[in-house]
Protein backbone atom coordinates (compact mmCIF):
# COMPACT_ATOMS: atom_id res chain seq x y z
CA UNK A 1 0.00 0.00 0.00
CA UNK A 2 1.59 3.28 -1.02
CA UNK A 3 1.92 5.76 1.77
CA UNK A 4 0.92 9.11 0.30
CA UNK A 5 2.02 11.21 3.24
CA UNK A 6 5.78 10.86 3.11
CA UNK A 7 7.29 10.27 -0.33
CA UNK A 8 10.91 9.11 -0.62
CA UNK A 9 11.25 11.34 -3.63
CA UNK A 10 9.40 14.47 -4.64
CA UNK A 11 9.78 16.89 -7.52
CA UNK A 12 8.08 20.25 -7.08
CA UNK A 13 7.73 22.26 -10.26
CA UNK A 14 11.16 21.31 -11.53
CA UNK A 15 12.36 23.08 -14.69
CA UNK A 16 15.69 22.80 -16.42
CA UNK A 17 17.06 25.02 -19.16
CA UNK A 18 20.31 24.53 -21.04
CA UNK A 19 22.36 26.99 -22.97
CA UNK A 20 23.40 25.29 -26.21
CA UNK A 21 25.31 27.28 -28.84
CA UNK A 22 23.67 30.47 -27.69
CA UNK A 23 20.24 28.87 -27.84
CA UNK A 24 18.02 28.28 -24.85
CA UNK A 25 16.85 24.69 -24.66
CA UNK A 26 14.01 23.90 -22.30
CA UNK A 27 14.78 20.31 -21.34
CA UNK A 28 12.17 20.06 -18.61
CA UNK A 29 9.21 22.27 -17.72
CA UNK A 30 7.37 22.31 -14.42
CA UNK A 31 7.65 18.65 -13.49
CA UNK A 32 5.76 17.36 -10.46
CA UNK A 33 6.36 13.83 -9.26
CA UNK A 34 5.98 11.88 -6.01
CA UNK A 35 7.55 8.48 -5.55
CA UNK A 36 6.75 6.30 -2.54
CA UNK A 37 9.30 4.03 -0.94
CA UNK A 38 9.40 0.63 -2.65
CA UNK A 39 7.70 1.85 -5.81
CA UNK A 40 8.89 0.90 -9.27
CA UNK A 41 8.30 3.93 -11.49
CA UNK A 42 9.02 3.96 -15.21
CA UNK A 43 9.59 7.15 -17.18
CA UNK A 44 8.75 6.82 -20.84
CA UNK A 45 8.73 9.18 -23.77
CA UNK A 46 10.30 10.07 -27.10
CA UNK A 47 13.84 11.41 -27.19
CA UNK A 48 14.06 15.00 -26.00
CA UNK A 49 11.17 14.61 -23.56
CA UNK A 50 13.46 15.29 -20.61
CA UNK A 51 13.30 11.86 -19.02
CA UNK A 52 17.07 11.55 -18.75
CA UNK A 53 17.31 15.14 -17.51
CA UNK A 54 14.79 14.36 -14.81
CA UNK A 55 16.80 11.33 -13.76
CA UNK A 56 20.05 13.27 -13.74
CA UNK A 57 18.46 15.95 -11.55
CA UNK A 58 17.39 13.30 -9.06
CA UNK A 59 20.89 11.81 -9.21
CA UNK A 60 22.30 15.25 -8.41
CA UNK A 61 24.35 15.50 -11.61
CA UNK A 62 22.30 18.49 -12.78
CA UNK A 63 20.89 21.37 -10.82
CA UNK A 64 17.37 22.65 -11.34
CA UNK A 65 16.72 25.98 -13.04
CA UNK A 66 13.47 26.34 -11.10
CA UNK A 67 11.67 24.17 -8.58
CA UNK A 68 12.92 21.68 -6.07
CA UNK A 69 13.97 18.02 -6.02
CA UNK A 70 13.58 16.50 -2.56
CA UNK A 71 14.54 13.18 -1.03
CA UNK A 72 12.78 12.42 2.24
CA UNK A 73 11.83 16.10 2.18
CA UNK A 74 15.45 17.29 2.01
CA UNK A 75 16.67 19.19 -1.07
CA UNK A 76 18.98 17.20 -3.31
CA UNK A 77 22.19 19.05 -3.97
CA UNK A 78 24.77 16.82 -5.55
CA UNK A 79 25.22 13.09 -6.03
CA UNK A 80 25.07 10.75 -3.08
CA UNK A 81 25.28 7.02 -2.37
CA UNK A 82 21.62 6.82 -1.30
CA UNK A 83 20.73 7.50 -4.95
CA UNK A 84 22.58 4.94 -7.08
CA UNK A 85 22.71 5.40 -10.83
CA UNK A 86 22.89 2.66 -13.42
CA UNK A 87 24.02 4.04 -16.78
CA UNK A 88 23.22 2.67 -20.19
CA UNK A 89 26.95 2.61 -20.96
CA UNK A 90 27.67 0.93 -17.59
CA UNK A 91 30.25 3.45 -16.32
CA UNK A 92 32.32 0.68 -14.75
CA UNK A 93 35.90 1.40 -13.75
CA UNK A 94 37.91 -0.50 -16.35
CA UNK A 95 40.96 -0.86 -14.11
CA UNK A 96 39.02 -2.65 -11.38
CA UNK A 97 37.84 -6.24 -11.42
CA UNK A 98 34.21 -7.15 -10.78
CA UNK A 99 35.12 -7.34 -7.09
CA UNK A 100 36.87 -3.98 -7.20
CA UNK A 101 33.97 -2.28 -8.94
CA UNK A 102 31.43 -3.57 -6.45
CA UNK A 103 33.69 -2.70 -3.54
CA UNK A 104 34.41 0.80 -4.83
CA UNK A 105 31.50 2.46 -3.03
CA UNK A 106 31.87 0.82 0.38
CA UNK A 107 35.62 1.43 0.24
CA UNK A 108 35.20 5.11 -0.68
CA UNK A 109 32.94 5.51 2.29
CA UNK A 110 35.58 4.19 4.65
CA UNK A 111 34.17 0.77 5.45
CA UNK A 112 36.64 -1.69 6.97
CA UNK A 113 38.35 -4.18 4.68
CA UNK A 114 36.45 -7.09 6.24
CA UNK A 115 33.13 -5.37 5.81
CA UNK A 116 33.91 -4.47 2.20
CA UNK A 117 34.88 -8.06 1.46
CA UNK A 118 31.67 -9.45 2.96
CA UNK A 119 29.52 -6.94 1.12
CA UNK A 120 31.27 -7.63 -2.16
CA UNK A 121 30.83 -11.41 -1.90
CA UNK A 122 27.18 -11.01 -0.95
CA UNK A 123 26.36 -8.85 -3.96
CA UNK A 124 28.47 -10.86 -6.39
CA UNK A 125 26.31 -13.86 -5.57
CA UNK A 126 23.14 -11.76 -5.70
CA UNK A 127 23.79 -11.04 -9.37
CA UNK A 128 25.29 -14.46 -10.02
CA UNK A 129 28.79 -13.41 -11.06
CA UNK A 130 30.83 -15.64 -8.73
CA UNK A 131 32.78 -17.18 -11.59
CA UNK A 132 33.72 -13.78 -12.97
CA UNK A 133 34.63 -12.09 -9.71
CA UNK A 134 38.20 -11.43 -10.83
CA UNK A 135 37.48 -10.52 -14.44
CA UNK A 136 37.97 -7.00 -15.77
CA UNK A 137 35.05 -5.17 -17.40
CA UNK A 138 36.46 -5.50 -20.93
CA UNK A 139 36.30 -9.27 -20.54
CA UNK A 140 32.58 -9.26 -19.74
CA UNK A 141 29.51 -9.23 -21.96
CA UNK A 142 27.10 -6.29 -21.86
CA UNK A 143 24.64 -8.17 -19.68
CA UNK A 144 27.32 -9.04 -17.17
CA UNK A 145 28.60 -5.48 -17.08
CA UNK A 146 25.13 -4.23 -16.30
CA UNK A 147 24.81 -6.75 -13.48
CA UNK A 148 28.03 -5.44 -12.02
CA UNK A 149 26.67 -1.89 -12.32
CA UNK A 150 23.49 -2.90 -10.49
CA UNK A 151 25.39 -4.81 -7.79
CA UNK A 152 27.68 -1.80 -7.38
CA UNK A 153 24.88 0.56 -6.37
CA UNK A 154 23.11 -2.04 -4.23
CA UNK A 155 26.35 -2.84 -2.38
CA UNK A 156 26.56 0.84 -1.58
CA UNK A 157 23.23 0.88 0.30
CA UNK A 158 21.34 2.79 -2.37
CA UNK A 159 17.73 3.44 -1.36
CA UNK A 160 16.71 4.59 -4.81
CA UNK A 161 18.15 3.04 -7.93
CA UNK A 162 18.07 5.36 -10.93
CA UNK A 163 18.28 3.50 -14.21
CA UNK A 164 18.85 5.34 -17.47
CA UNK A 165 17.81 2.95 -20.25
CA UNK A 166 19.99 0.33 -18.58
CA UNK A 167 19.07 -2.50 -20.92
CA UNK A 168 18.89 -0.43 -24.10
CA UNK A 169 22.23 -1.66 -25.45
CA UNK A 170 21.58 -5.35 -24.76
CA UNK A 171 20.21 -8.04 -27.05
CA UNK A 172 16.59 -9.11 -26.53
CA UNK A 173 17.36 -12.37 -24.71
CA UNK A 174 19.73 -10.78 -22.25
CA UNK A 175 17.36 -7.88 -21.74
CA UNK A 176 14.47 -10.15 -20.76
CA UNK A 177 16.65 -12.08 -18.39
CA UNK A 178 17.92 -8.95 -16.70
CA UNK A 179 14.39 -7.56 -16.43
CA UNK A 180 13.36 -10.71 -14.55
CA UNK A 181 16.40 -10.54 -12.32
CA UNK A 182 15.85 -6.87 -11.60
CA UNK A 183 12.24 -7.50 -10.57
CA UNK A 184 13.34 -10.34 -8.34
CA UNK A 185 15.95 -8.17 -6.63
CA UNK A 186 13.44 -5.33 -6.32
CA UNK A 187 10.83 -7.58 -4.71
CA UNK A 188 13.36 -9.14 -2.38
CA UNK A 189 15.01 -5.92 -1.21
CA UNK A 190 12.16 -3.41 -1.20
CA UNK A 191 14.15 -0.95 -3.29
CA UNK A 192 12.71 2.10 -4.93
CA UNK A 193 13.39 2.18 -8.65
CA UNK A 194 13.15 5.06 -11.11
CA UNK A 195 13.56 3.54 -14.53
CA UNK A 196 13.91 5.45 -17.80
CA UNK A 197 13.07 3.57 -20.97
CA UNK A 198 11.77 4.17 -24.47
CA UNK A 199 10.23 0.71 -24.69
CA UNK A 200 6.51 0.64 -23.89
CA UNK A 201 6.60 -3.07 -23.26
CA UNK A 202 9.51 -2.78 -20.84
CA UNK A 203 7.70 -0.02 -18.94
CA UNK A 204 4.48 -2.03 -18.57
CA UNK A 205 6.36 -5.20 -17.70
CA UNK A 206 8.36 -3.56 -14.94
CA UNK A 207 6.50 -0.59 -13.52
CA UNK A 208 3.99 -0.09 -10.73
CA UNK A 209 3.39 3.22 -12.36
CA UNK A 210 4.30 4.73 -15.72
CA UNK A 211 5.05 8.41 -16.12
CA UNK A 212 4.50 9.47 -19.72
CA UNK A 213 6.60 12.40 -20.88
CA UNK A 214 6.51 14.43 -24.08
CA UNK A 215 9.05 16.61 -25.84
CA UNK A 216 9.33 20.24 -26.89
CA UNK A 217 9.55 21.40 -24.07
CA UNK A 218 10.09 18.24 -22.04
CA UNK A 219 7.30 17.74 -19.54
CA UNK A 220 5.28 15.14 -17.70
CA UNK A 221 2.17 14.43 -19.73
CA UNK A 222 0.31 11.88 -17.68
CA UNK A 223 0.68 9.05 -15.20
CA UNK A 224 -0.66 5.57 -15.39
CA UNK A 225 -0.80 3.03 -12.55
CA UNK A 226 -0.30 -0.56 -13.72
CA UNK A 227 -2.42 -2.87 -11.61
CA UNK A 228 -1.58 -6.09 -13.48
CA UNK A 229 -0.52 -8.92 -11.17
CA UNK A 230 3.12 -10.03 -11.29
CA UNK A 231 4.73 -11.89 -12.94
CA UNK A 232 3.24 -10.15 -15.93
CA UNK A 233 2.51 -11.84 -19.21
CA UNK A 234 3.52 -9.65 -22.15
CA UNK A 235 1.04 -11.34 -24.49
CA UNK A 236 -1.97 -11.26 -22.16
CA UNK A 237 -4.97 -9.26 -23.48
CA UNK A 238 -5.00 -6.70 -20.65
CA UNK A 239 -1.25 -6.17 -21.14
CA UNK A 240 -1.97 -5.47 -24.80
CA UNK A 241 -4.76 -3.05 -23.93
CA UNK A 242 -2.37 -0.95 -21.88
CA UNK A 243 0.25 -1.20 -24.58
CA UNK A 244 -2.23 0.09 -27.18
CA UNK A 245 -3.38 2.89 -24.94
CA UNK A 246 0.17 4.04 -24.19
CA UNK A 247 1.22 3.70 -27.78
CA UNK A 248 -1.60 5.96 -28.94
CA UNK A 249 -0.71 8.50 -26.31
CA UNK A 250 2.95 8.54 -27.31
CA UNK A 251 2.19 8.74 -31.01
CA UNK A 252 -0.20 11.62 -30.56
CA UNK A 253 2.72 13.57 -29.02
CA UNK A 254 4.79 12.69 -32.00
CA UNK A 255 2.30 13.83 -34.61
CA UNK A 256 1.50 16.96 -32.63
CA UNK A 257 5.18 17.78 -32.61
CA UNK A 258 5.57 17.07 -36.30
CA UNK A 259 2.59 19.25 -37.17
Amino acid sequence: MPDTTNPILELRGVSKQFELQGQRIEALRDAHLRVQKGEFVCLIGASGCGKSTLLRIVAGFESTTRGQALMWGMPINGPGPERGMVFQDYGLFPWLTVRGNIGFGPMSRGRSAMEVKDTVERFISLVGLQRFADAYPHQLSGGMKQRVAIARVLANDAEIVLMDEPFGALDAMTRERLQDELLEIWQRTGLTVLFVTHSIEEAIFLGDRIVVMSPGPGRIESELAIALPRPRDVVAPDFNDIRRQLSQQLHSHHSRKAA
Binding site: G91, W95, F132, L140, M144, R152
Partner: protein
Protein backbone atom coordinates in the same frame (compact mmCIF):
# COMPACT_ATOMS: atom_id res chain seq x y z
CA UNK B 1 40.39 -20.15 -17.93
CA UNK B 2 38.14 -17.18 -17.79
CA UNK B 3 37.40 -17.39 -21.47
CA UNK B 4 36.58 -21.06 -21.24
CA UNK B 5 34.13 -20.33 -18.50
CA UNK B 6 32.72 -17.51 -20.58
CA UNK B 7 32.05 -19.72 -23.56
CA UNK B 8 29.76 -21.85 -21.43
CA UNK B 9 27.73 -18.90 -20.30
CA UNK B 10 24.69 -18.24 -22.48
CA UNK B 11 25.11 -14.50 -21.91
CA UNK B 12 28.40 -14.28 -23.76
CA UNK B 13 28.38 -14.48 -27.49
CA UNK B 14 30.86 -12.18 -29.13
CA UNK B 15 34.09 -12.51 -27.11
CA UNK B 16 34.41 -16.27 -27.61
CA UNK B 17 35.06 -16.07 -31.32
CA UNK B 18 38.25 -14.10 -31.08
CA UNK B 19 40.32 -16.23 -28.67
CA UNK B 20 39.49 -19.38 -30.61
CA UNK B 21 40.80 -17.72 -33.74
CA UNK B 22 43.95 -16.61 -31.94
CA UNK B 23 44.68 -20.05 -30.62
CA UNK B 24 44.46 -21.52 -34.08
CA UNK B 25 46.86 -19.09 -35.70
CA UNK B 26 49.31 -18.65 -32.82
CA UNK B 27 51.46 -21.64 -33.77
CA UNK B 28 52.04 -20.42 -37.32
CA UNK B 29 52.33 -16.77 -36.51
CA UNK B 30 54.89 -17.48 -33.84
CA UNK B 31 57.15 -18.97 -36.50
CA UNK B 32 56.12 -16.78 -39.38
CA UNK B 33 56.51 -13.36 -37.86
CA UNK B 34 60.21 -13.60 -36.95
CA UNK B 35 60.89 -15.11 -40.37
CA UNK B 36 59.08 -12.26 -42.08
CA UNK B 37 60.86 -9.76 -39.88
CA UNK B 38 64.34 -10.81 -41.03
CA UNK B 39 63.56 -10.83 -44.75
CA UNK B 40 64.10 -7.11 -45.14
CA UNK B 41 67.38 -6.91 -43.15
CA UNK B 42 68.74 -9.84 -45.17
CA UNK B 43 67.89 -8.06 -48.43
CA UNK B 44 69.60 -4.90 -47.15
CA UNK B 45 72.67 -6.90 -46.13
CA UNK B 46 72.91 -8.56 -49.55
CA UNK B 47 72.56 -5.27 -51.43
CA UNK B 48 75.02 -3.61 -49.07
CA UNK B 49 77.49 -6.46 -49.53
CA UNK B 50 77.47 -6.40 -53.33
CA UNK B 51 77.58 -2.63 -53.45
CA UNK B 52 80.66 -2.36 -51.23
CA UNK B 53 82.62 -5.64 -51.20
CA UNK B 54 85.90 -5.46 -53.09
CA UNK B 55 85.43 -1.80 -53.99
CA UNK B 56 88.72 -0.11 -53.29
CA UNK B 57 87.52 3.39 -52.66
CA UNK B 58 84.22 2.67 -50.99
CA UNK B 59 83.67 4.99 -48.05
CA UNK B 60 81.19 2.52 -46.64
CA UNK B 61 82.75 -0.70 -45.37
CA UNK B 62 81.16 -4.00 -46.43
CA UNK B 63 78.99 -5.79 -43.83
CA UNK B 64 81.63 -8.43 -43.09
CA UNK B 65 84.04 -5.73 -41.99
CA UNK B 66 81.43 -4.18 -39.74
CA UNK B 67 80.79 -7.61 -38.23
CA UNK B 68 84.51 -8.02 -37.54
CA UNK B 69 84.65 -4.57 -36.00
CA UNK B 70 81.63 -5.34 -33.84
CA UNK B 71 83.26 -8.55 -32.66
CA UNK B 72 86.49 -6.71 -31.90
CA UNK B 73 84.60 -3.93 -30.16
CA UNK B 74 82.86 -6.49 -27.97
CA UNK B 75 85.50 -9.17 -27.31
CA UNK B 76 88.77 -7.77 -28.72
CA UNK B 77 91.49 -9.94 -30.22
CA UNK B 78 91.31 -8.80 -33.87
CA UNK B 79 92.67 -5.29 -34.24
CA UNK B 80 93.86 -4.57 -30.72
CA UNK B 81 93.45 -0.83 -31.08
CA UNK B 82 91.83 1.84 -28.90
CA UNK B 83 88.35 0.44 -29.60
CA UNK B 84 89.01 -3.22 -28.91
CA UNK B 85 86.92 -4.67 -26.09
CA UNK B 86 85.48 -1.31 -25.08
CA UNK B 87 81.83 -1.85 -26.00
CA UNK B 88 80.68 -2.58 -22.45
CA UNK B 89 82.20 0.69 -21.21
CA UNK B 90 80.40 2.74 -23.86
CA UNK B 91 77.18 0.81 -23.56
CA UNK B 92 77.14 1.24 -19.81
CA UNK B 93 77.89 4.96 -20.10
CA UNK B 94 75.05 5.44 -22.58
CA UNK B 95 72.66 3.29 -20.58
CA UNK B 96 73.29 5.35 -17.47
CA UNK B 97 72.67 8.58 -19.39
CA UNK B 98 69.56 7.29 -21.13
CA UNK B 99 67.98 5.94 -17.95
CA UNK B 100 69.30 8.74 -15.77
CA UNK B 101 68.05 11.44 -18.12
CA UNK B 102 64.78 9.57 -18.51
CA UNK B 103 64.36 9.29 -14.74
CA UNK B 104 64.90 13.03 -14.30
CA UNK B 105 62.47 13.78 -17.12
CA UNK B 106 59.89 11.49 -15.54
CA UNK B 107 60.16 13.01 -12.08
CA UNK B 108 59.58 16.48 -13.53
CA UNK B 109 57.14 15.76 -16.37
CA UNK B 110 54.78 13.43 -14.52
CA UNK B 111 53.75 15.72 -11.65
CA UNK B 112 53.82 18.70 -13.98
CA UNK B 113 51.58 16.95 -16.49
CA UNK B 114 49.14 15.90 -13.78
CA UNK B 115 48.94 19.46 -12.50
CA UNK B 116 48.61 21.05 -15.93
CA UNK B 117 45.90 18.55 -16.76
CA UNK B 118 43.89 19.04 -13.59
CA UNK B 119 44.55 22.56 -12.33
CA UNK B 120 43.41 25.28 -14.67
CA UNK B 121 45.61 27.95 -13.06
CA UNK B 122 48.76 25.88 -13.59
CA UNK B 123 47.67 25.16 -17.16
CA UNK B 124 47.16 28.83 -17.98
CA UNK B 125 50.41 29.71 -16.28
CA UNK B 126 52.74 27.15 -17.86
CA UNK B 127 51.17 25.53 -20.88
CA UNK B 128 51.72 28.37 -23.40
CA UNK B 129 55.42 28.65 -22.54
CA UNK B 130 55.92 24.91 -22.70
CA UNK B 131 54.16 24.75 -26.06
CA UNK B 132 56.47 27.42 -27.49
CA UNK B 133 59.56 25.65 -26.15
CA UNK B 134 58.41 22.31 -27.49
CA UNK B 135 59.26 22.70 -31.21
CA UNK B 136 62.86 23.67 -30.41
CA UNK B 137 64.94 20.63 -31.37
CA UNK B 138 67.24 19.10 -28.80
CA UNK B 139 70.17 19.81 -31.15
CA UNK B 140 69.46 23.51 -30.88
CA UNK B 141 69.88 23.32 -27.12
CA UNK B 142 73.39 21.89 -27.48
CA UNK B 143 75.41 25.15 -27.37
CA UNK B 144 73.37 26.66 -24.56
CA UNK B 145 73.46 23.42 -22.62
CA UNK B 146 77.26 23.33 -22.83
CA UNK B 147 77.41 26.89 -21.50
CA UNK B 148 74.99 26.19 -18.68
CA UNK B 149 76.14 22.73 -17.65
CA UNK B 150 79.69 22.69 -18.98
CA UNK B 151 81.38 20.13 -21.18
CA UNK B 152 80.73 16.62 -20.07
CA UNK B 153 78.13 14.28 -18.67
CA UNK B 154 75.92 16.93 -17.04
CA UNK B 155 75.10 18.40 -20.44
CA UNK B 156 74.48 14.90 -21.78
CA UNK B 157 72.01 14.24 -18.98
CA UNK B 158 70.27 17.54 -19.63
CA UNK B 159 69.83 16.91 -23.36
CA UNK B 160 68.62 13.32 -22.93
CA UNK B 161 66.25 14.53 -20.26
CA UNK B 162 64.95 17.21 -22.62
CA UNK B 163 64.32 14.61 -25.31
CA UNK B 164 62.30 12.41 -22.96
CA UNK B 165 60.48 15.28 -21.27
CA UNK B 166 57.86 16.31 -23.83
CA UNK B 167 56.46 12.92 -24.78
CA UNK B 168 55.90 12.18 -21.09
CA UNK B 169 54.42 15.60 -20.40
CA UNK B 170 52.10 15.71 -23.41
CA UNK B 171 50.76 12.20 -22.89
CA UNK B 172 50.24 12.73 -19.18
CA UNK B 173 48.24 15.91 -19.86
CA UNK B 174 46.26 14.11 -22.53
CA UNK B 175 45.58 11.13 -20.26
CA UNK B 176 44.43 13.26 -17.37
CA UNK B 177 42.22 15.45 -19.52
CA UNK B 178 40.57 12.65 -21.47
CA UNK B 179 39.16 10.68 -18.55
CA UNK B 180 35.61 9.66 -19.44
CA UNK B 181 33.33 12.13 -17.57
CA UNK B 182 30.98 9.22 -16.90
CA UNK B 183 33.58 7.80 -14.50
CA UNK B 184 33.49 10.97 -12.40
CA UNK B 185 29.71 10.69 -12.22
CA UNK B 186 29.96 7.03 -11.28
CA UNK B 187 32.53 7.77 -8.59
CA UNK B 188 30.61 10.66 -7.10
CA UNK B 189 27.30 8.80 -6.92
CA UNK B 190 29.20 6.01 -5.13
CA UNK B 191 30.44 8.45 -2.52
CA UNK B 192 33.92 9.23 -3.86
CA UNK B 193 33.98 12.99 -4.29
CA UNK B 194 36.39 15.90 -4.47
CA UNK B 195 40.14 15.34 -4.11
CA UNK B 196 39.68 11.60 -3.44
CA UNK B 197 38.72 11.26 -7.09
CA UNK B 198 42.25 12.17 -8.10
CA UNK B 199 43.77 8.97 -6.74
CA UNK B 200 40.80 6.68 -7.24
CA UNK B 201 39.71 7.83 -10.71
CA UNK B 202 42.02 10.27 -12.50
CA UNK B 203 45.29 8.47 -11.86
CA UNK B 204 44.21 4.93 -12.74
CA UNK B 205 42.14 6.10 -15.72
CA UNK B 206 45.04 8.03 -17.22
CA UNK B 207 47.61 5.31 -16.59
CA UNK B 208 47.52 3.88 -20.15
CA UNK B 209 48.22 7.30 -21.66
CA UNK B 210 50.90 8.04 -19.07
CA UNK B 211 52.46 4.72 -19.84
CA UNK B 212 52.47 5.45 -23.58
CA UNK B 213 54.20 8.72 -22.74
CA UNK B 214 56.86 6.96 -20.70
CA UNK B 215 57.45 4.49 -23.49
CA UNK B 216 57.78 7.24 -26.11
CA UNK B 217 59.97 9.24 -23.73
CA UNK B 218 62.36 6.36 -23.25
CA UNK B 219 62.46 5.90 -27.02
CA UNK B 220 63.33 9.58 -27.49
CA UNK B 221 66.01 9.31 -24.82
CA UNK B 222 67.72 6.74 -27.05
CA UNK B 223 67.17 8.91 -30.11
CA UNK B 224 68.91 11.93 -28.62
CA UNK B 225 71.75 10.01 -26.97
CA UNK B 226 74.14 10.80 -29.84
CA UNK B 227 73.41 14.52 -29.57
CA UNK B 228 73.70 14.25 -25.80
CA UNK B 229 77.12 12.72 -26.15
CA UNK B 230 78.34 15.37 -28.56
CA UNK B 231 79.02 17.47 -25.49
CA UNK B 232 82.61 16.36 -25.11
CA UNK B 233 82.14 13.21 -23.06
CA UNK B 234 84.79 10.55 -23.61
CA UNK B 235 82.65 7.45 -23.36
CA UNK B 236 79.26 6.41 -24.66
CA UNK B 237 77.92 5.04 -27.91
CA UNK B 238 77.23 8.53 -29.20
CA UNK B 239 80.73 9.62 -28.23
CA UNK B 240 82.43 6.82 -30.16
CA UNK B 241 80.23 7.44 -33.18
CA UNK B 242 81.30 11.09 -33.29
CA UNK B 243 84.93 10.22 -32.60
CA UNK B 244 85.14 7.38 -35.12
CA UNK B 245 83.63 9.67 -37.70
CA UNK B 246 86.52 12.09 -37.31
CA UNK B 247 88.96 9.20 -37.64
CA UNK B 248 87.08 7.89 -40.71
CA UNK B 249 86.46 4.61 -38.90
CA UNK B 250 83.06 4.20 -40.53
CA UNK B 251 82.76 0.56 -39.44
CA UNK B 252 82.88 1.72 -35.82
CA UNK B 253 80.21 4.33 -36.59
CA UNK B 254 77.94 1.63 -37.97
CA UNK B 255 78.67 -0.62 -34.98
CA UNK B 256 77.59 2.20 -32.67
CA UNK B 257 74.39 2.64 -34.66
CA UNK B 258 73.57 -1.06 -34.53
CA UNK B 259 74.18 -1.27 -30.78
CA UNK B 260 71.98 1.79 -30.13
CA UNK B 261 69.25 0.22 -32.23
CA UNK B 262 69.39 -3.11 -30.43
CA UNK B 263 69.68 -1.59 -26.95
CA UNK B 264 66.78 0.77 -27.64
CA UNK B 265 64.70 -2.10 -28.98
CA UNK B 266 65.35 -4.33 -25.96
CA UNK B 267 64.65 -1.48 -23.56
CA UNK B 268 61.34 -0.79 -25.31
CA UNK B 269 60.40 -4.46 -25.15
CA UNK B 270 61.07 -4.55 -21.42
CA UNK B 271 58.89 -1.50 -20.90
CA UNK B 272 56.11 -3.11 -22.96
CA UNK B 273 56.31 -6.27 -20.84
CA UNK B 274 56.01 -4.16 -17.73
CA UNK B 275 53.04 -2.34 -19.26
CA UNK B 276 51.25 -5.56 -20.11
CA UNK B 277 51.63 -6.63 -16.54
CA UNK B 278 50.51 -3.37 -14.92
CA UNK B 279 47.77 -2.59 -17.41
CA UNK B 280 46.23 -6.03 -17.75
CA UNK B 281 42.85 -4.38 -17.34
CA UNK B 282 43.21 -2.23 -20.44
CA UNK B 283 42.03 -3.76 -23.72
CA UNK B 284 44.81 -1.81 -25.45
CA UNK B 285 47.57 -3.51 -23.50
CA UNK B 286 46.27 -6.95 -22.55
Amino acid sequence: MLLDAASRSPLIAAPTVEPALQRQTSFFSRLRNPLLAIVFPVVVLVVWHFATYGQKYSLIPPPIEVARALYDLTFGGIYDDAYSRTLHIHLLASLSRVYGGFAIAMTVALPLGLMIGRISLVRRLLDPTLQVLRPIPVTAWLPLSMIMFGLGPRSAFFLVCLGAFYPILINTIFGVRSVDPRLFEAASMLGCQGPAQFFRVVLPASLPAIFTGLRLGLGFAWVVIVVGEMTGVQTGLGAIIMEARQLSRTEIVICGMIVIGIAGFISDRLVMLLGKRLLRWSPNFA
